[in-house]
Every structure is written in structure tokens, then in C-alpha cells.
């Protein structure tokens, strides 16, 4: 929001993606803006249904239409507005310059197709590989993501791999064409904890190696803490808070973020009782006039239920969507001092 696109690989402005349902218009993503610099990692955090996946599918224009539609906004990737490209030009971005890893590796690979074929498909399409080149490249990529005995396993079917291995295959596929932007949509949610760490480490090292920018979508604050430079907190299709990772963890400026941080299990806590934000995310088709978080918010006052909150700039890179952003921020600072 401060600089206008210098050094930015991606800059999203006022993106709105709506879904038409029988229940009314669901504003899954409602006016979000963010920027991503070359080589940076951005974390997008939020509960289920907060719009984080829809936001990222919008970046690749993968929103099924109907019922979904990108209503307004701009997505400038490497100097060009993705929303203004022809379908053909968008397809040239997908898989080549922007790649995606999905949440569930068990269902994200085609169960009827050999892994080799699924990997070769990408490089033959985008890099013009011959069959032989593509095959060698596929094997190389599988070795690269740490699949043992890649040469003999390349012709296996997805079901012959474990969940973690399948996610490695997905990563190999996503990175086949050395994309400039990798979007990882909850890449570890479906995996068990030890595998989670391995996969995150893999993404990190491949990122360092290729210099790609990464968007990491998750509902797990522990995952973003160690990996990201910036974090966006999403709620009800809106950006609630945006800050550098350290700033957000140390000095959150939004009651919702505070709630999320409090609900991370703390092994040193004697009581052993886990905090949880009361209530459920709102129905996106029927949002109240005020702050969408107000009904669940501890800090909420009369104004919150009446008026939509302002997007307050707290520091140069720290924004918060709250009537009391400065109060919350000051309190966080005070708490930080006490610690």
C-alpha cells in the first residue's frame, strides 16, 4: 500500500470474489489487498471459511464460474494484471510461473494416472520437453524432493505412495518449471506431525534454492511462525491484520489475532486448559452491518455492532481492521514489556 509495485512480484488490490448461491451472495473474499516481494514468504492465516483458499485460487483464476466470480480488484503479477489476461495467457502462468500445492495429497493427484505421466505433463506443456527429457526431469525432481529410489518409483500410481510421499510428489510437480511464486494451500494439514516438519523444511530449502516467493496458507500459527516474513490474518473474507511475522506475534493489534494466538497450545501452561474463541465464523451470505467479528469479540462495544471498523495503520508495515486497533496494540506492547 505504501510503494506502488517496485520490487513487488505480486500486488493484490481490493480483490473481491463472490459466490452466487441460493442463500444469497457469499462474499468469500471481500476487498483484500496485499503485496509480496521477490523471494519473500507470506503467511495467510485464518479459520476455515475465512476466504484464504478462495483468495489464492483467485490469484490463479481457478475459481469455478459459476457460481464464483471475481467481482473487482486487480492482481498484478510480475507487472501484468492477471485479471486482464486472456484464458490462454493465464494458462501459461499456471504451473509455469505460479504453481500451487494443495491441502490433501491423497486426492490432489489423479488416481488413474502414473506419477511419471502427471509430472511429465507439466514440463512437456510449459518447457517443451520431449518425452525423454520430461521423464528424466521428472526423475530428477522426485530425487530432489527426497523420494528414495526415484527412478524405479516414477512409474508408480499415487496410491502406491504414502501421504507424505504424495505431498512430495505434488511439490516436485509444482516446482518442475521453477515457478516464481509457489502457493501452498495448507500443505501439511492432512499429514501427521513428523511429516509436517519435513515437508515445511523441504518447501523452505527449495525456496531458498530457487529464490521463489511463497504464499503459505494455513490455520496453524505454529506453521507460519517459523517460515514467513509477513502474515495476513483473514476473517470473514477480509484482512483483519497485516504485519511482519515478529511484529504480529509480539505485538498483535487486533482482538481476533490475540484470540488466535491465545488458542495456540502452550506446553508450559500448568492449567492445561486450552483457550478457544467463543462462537463460530459468521455466515458470509448474511453479514451484520458492523464488524463481522463483533459477536465473538471480548473487546466489542456498541460501535462495533453498528459501524464497520476502519483499517488502521499502526506502524509502517502493520495494519489492523478494528475500531480499537491502537488500544489493542498499546496493550500488546505493554504486555510485551512485562514479559
Amino acid at each position: 500500500m505504501t510503494d506502488s509495485g517496485h520490487g513487488n512480484l505480486l500486488s493484490v488490490t481490493d480483490l473481491r470474489t463472490y459466490f452466487e448461491t441460493e442463500d444469497g451472495t457469499v462474499k468469500a473474499v471481500d476487498g483484500i489487498s496485499f503485496e509480496l516481494k521477490q523471494g519473500e514468504t507470506l503467511g495467510i492465516v485464518g479459520e476455515s471459511g475465512s476466504g484464504k483458499s478462495v483468495a489464492n485460487l483467485s490469484l490463479m483464476r481457478l475459481i469455478p464460474n459459476p457460481p464464483g466470480k471475481i467481482v473487482s480488484g486487480s492482481i498484478v503479477f510480475a507487472g501484468r494484471d492477471v485479471l486482464k489476461l486472456s484464458p490462454r495467457e493465464v494458462r501459461k502462468l499456471r504451473g509455469k510461473r505460479i504453481a500451487m500445492i494443495f491441502q490433501d495429497p491423497m486426492t490432489s493427484l489423479n488416481p488413474f494416472m502414473r506419477v511419471s505421466k502427471q509430472l511429465m505433463e507439466v514440463t512437456r506443456l510449459h518447457l517443451g520437453h520431449t518425452k525423454k527429457q520430461a521423464r528424466e526431469h521428472a526423475i530428477k525432481m522426485l530425487e530432489h524432493v527426497g523420494i528414495p529410489d526415484a527412478r524405479s518409483r516414477v512409474d508408480s500410481y499415487p496410491h502406491e505412495f504414502s501421504g507424505g510421499m504424495r505431498q512430495r510428489v505434488m511439490i516436485a510437480m509444482a516446482l518442475s518449471c521453477r515457478p516464481e511464486l509457489l502457493i501452498a494451500d495448507e500443505p501439511t494439514t492432512a499429514l501427521d506431525v513428523t511429516i509436517q516438519a519435513q515437508i515445511l523444511e523441504l518447501i523452505n530449502s527449495l525456496k531458498a534454492e530457487t529464490g521463489a516467493s511463497v504464499i503459505l496458507i494455513t490455520h496453524d500459527l505454529g506453521v507460519v511462525a517459523g517460515m514467513t516474513d509477513h502474515i495476513i490474518v483473514m476473517y470473514a473474507g477480509k484482512v483483519f491484520e497485516q504485519a511482519t511475522t515478529t511484529e504480529l506475534f509480539e505485538r498483535p493489534g487486533n482482538p481476533y489475532t490475540c484470540g488466535l494466538l491465545r488458542s495456540v497450545p502452550d506446553p508450559t501452561d500448568e492449567q492445561g486448559k486450552l483457550y478457544q474463541i467463543p462462537g463460530l465464523p459468521p455466515d458470509l451470505a448474511h453479514l451484520p452491518p458492523g464488524c463481522p467479528f463483533a459477536p465473538r469479540c471480548e473487546r466489542a462495544e456498541e460501535i462495533c455492532r453498528r459501524e464497520f471498523p476502519p483499517y488502521v495503520q499502526l506502524t509502517r508495515e502493520h495494519y489492523s481492521l478494528c475500531h480499537f486497533a491502537s488500544d489493542v496494540y498499546t496493550k500488546s506492547q505493554a504486555q510485551e514489556g512485562n514479559r
Partner: protein
């Protein structure tokens, strides 16, 4: 895999036994006999006939003979078509039925899958609605109505096609019966394809395929069709078996010399060996094609192992 096939083939034997026994029992329970006609026979002639065809022997001897015949794949001689064995009649009727059935089958697959896929890809468009309304009509109109209707329009009014009889393949005479026969299958397959494709197109791996930058055509042909057509495969095996073993109504409407027509005549005539022969043949074919479908699953879906 081989053990699975052998096991399935072995299972065919008791199934066949049950089918044949039921058929035989039902024929025997039905009143009348192959020699009962409008003219009453004298007791002497009736006695001679019963002796000649072994009808005076105890029921278990006759039943045993039926089973023994089947075990040898020799169903004996027809009672009505004199001097012709059931096997001869089977081999005469089968090519007609199989040609007609196969034509109808291929037509149904081609039209059904194309329509179903288009309807799924353009869900909630006019193509979708129109084809599903047509499919509903196709399922609802019985072929003994559709057949005469087509004859009325294309044979008796427009004079484009012959109204009946068989001129072999290829000839104009196959068009109307094949259309009549395939209508319901087209409708079924279109609906199966549509629902199968709709489900697959929403699946995660299709999203992955799109995220790779493949065009919509590539997504559909390389990634979606295979999974989307699985329900069609399970339907199409038994369907083919029923189609090629003769279709009673359509062969009757168009007076085609196929198995179905022979079957009806055999029933009217109480031609026991012919009835049992045709029933046994149909049963084996249906069971066989079901087995083929199960085997083909293994090739279509690599996750399935026997």
C-alpha cells in the same frame, strides 16, 4: 487375478443350475403342452407323443436329462421346428441379434457419453437441460411405443426406411430397430455420464490439472473422462449382454429373425428345449460380461487389485 477369474467362472455353474431349474419348473407348472392346439388330439396319439418325447417318465428322470444336456452344451432338438437342434437355431438367431445389439450398443455409448459429458461440462445451461429432458423422455417411453412410432414417421410417412424385416448388415433395415433399441440406453448412459463427470470435475485432482495450466479440453480428455466413465462401464457390461442376446420386443416389432423372436415363439409353442437353451445362453452371456466388466475395472482403475 487368475485365481479371481477362475473363482468367478466356477460360480457361474451353480448360478446356471438355479436359472435352468427355475425355468424348467416354471414351464412345467404352466398349463398346456407343446402339442395342445386348437384341435383336440385323440388319446392314442397323445400317448404316442408323450412316449416319443419321454414325457411319460418320472419328473426327476426328465429333469436329470435336461441338466445332463446342459452339461454337454447340447440342448437337444426343438419340439416345434422339426429336425432342428436348439444349437442350430441359436447359431441362426444369434448373428442377427448380435449385429443389431452391437449396433445399438455402440450408438448408445457414443451418443450417450457425448451428450452426458457436454451436459456435465455445461451444467445448468440449455444444453444440460435439453439433454436431460430428452433422456427423461428416452427412459420413459417404452420401446414397444417408440418402435411403431418411428415406423409410422420414417417408414410409413416419409418412406425413408423399411418398416420391418432384416437385410443383414449394413443395410437400411437396421436403422429403425437399432434406434428403437438404443433409445433407453442412450438416455441411461447420458445420465450416468453426466453425474459421473460432474462428480469428477469437482474433485481435487481436476483442480490440480487446471492449476498445471492444461486447457479445458486436455483436462477433460486426459484427466476427467477416465474416472467419470467408471459408472458407465459397470452399466455397459450387462447392457451389452442383454442387447446382443436378443431383444424380445424390438425383434418382434420389426419381425427380425433373431434370438428374441425365437424365444417368444418358443414360449408360445411351449418348446421346452428351445426355451431352456435360450435362457441358459443368455444367463451365461450376462454372467460372462459381468466378469469382463470386473476384469476391466482393474485396467481402468489401478487401485483395484484382485
Amino acid at each position: 487375478m487368475l485365481r479371481f477369474i477362475i473363482r468367478r467362472i466356477v460360480v457361474i455353474i451353480p448360478m446356471l443350475f438355479i436359472v435352468v431349474s427355475l425355468t424348467w419348473g416354471l414351464i412345467r407348472l404352466a398349463p398346456g403342452n407343446f402339442y395342445t392346439g386348437e384341435k383336440k388330439l385323440t388319446p392314442a396319439i397323445e400317448k404316442n407323443l408323450r412316449e416319443k418325447y419321454g414325457l411319460n417318465r418320472p419328473w426327476y428322470v426328465q429333469y436329470g436329462k435336461v441338466l445332463w444336456n446342459i452339461a454337454r452344451f447340447d440342448f437337444g432338438n426343438s419340439l416345434k421346428y422339426e429336425g432342428q437342434s436348439v444349437n442350430q437355431i441359436l447359431f441362426r438367431g444369434l448373428p442377427v441379434s448380435a449385429t443389431l445389439g452391437l449396433s445399438a450398443y455402440l450408438l448408445a455409448l457414443f451418443v450417450g457419453i457425448t451428450t452426458g459429458t457436454l451436459a456435465a461440462l455445461k451444467q445448468n445451461s440449455w444444453i444440460d437441460y435439453a439433454s436431460m429432458v430428452l433422456a427423461m423422455i428416452g427412459i420413459s417411453i417404452p420401446n414397444f411405443v417408440l418402435g411403431p412410432l418411428l415406423v409410422l414417421i420414417f417408414a410409413l410417412n416419409l418412406f425413408w426406411l423399411p418398416p420391418a424385416l432384416w437385410n443383414g448388415f449394413p443395410s437400411k433395415s437396421i436403422v429403425l430397430p437399432a434406434l428403437t433399441l438404443s433409445a433407453i440406453y442412450i438416455a441411461y448412459i447420458a445420465r450416468l455420464t453426466r453425474s459421473g463427470m460432474l462428480e469428477v470435475m469437482r474433485s481435487d485432482y481436476i483442480r490440480t490439472a487446471r492449476a498445471k495450466g492444461l486447457s479445458e479440453t486436455q483436462v477433460v480428455f486426459r484427466h476427467a473422462l477416465r474416472g467419470g466413465l467408471l459408472p458407465v462401464v459397470s452399466f455397459s457390461g450387462p447392457a451389452l449382454a442383454f442387447l446382443i442376446t436378443g431383444t424380445v420386443v424390438v425383434e418382434r416389432v420389426f419381425a427380425l429373425p433373431g434370438l428374441g423372436n425365437y424365444f417368444i415363439n418358443a414360449c408360445f409353442n411351449r418348446d421346452e428345449p428351445l426355451i431352456i437353451g435360450i435362457v441358459a445362453f443368455i444367463a451365461v452371456t450376462v454372467l460372462g460380461f459381468n466378469l469382463l466388466v470386473d476384469i476391466s475395472y482393474g485396467f481402468i482403475d489401478p487401485r483395484i487389485r484382485y
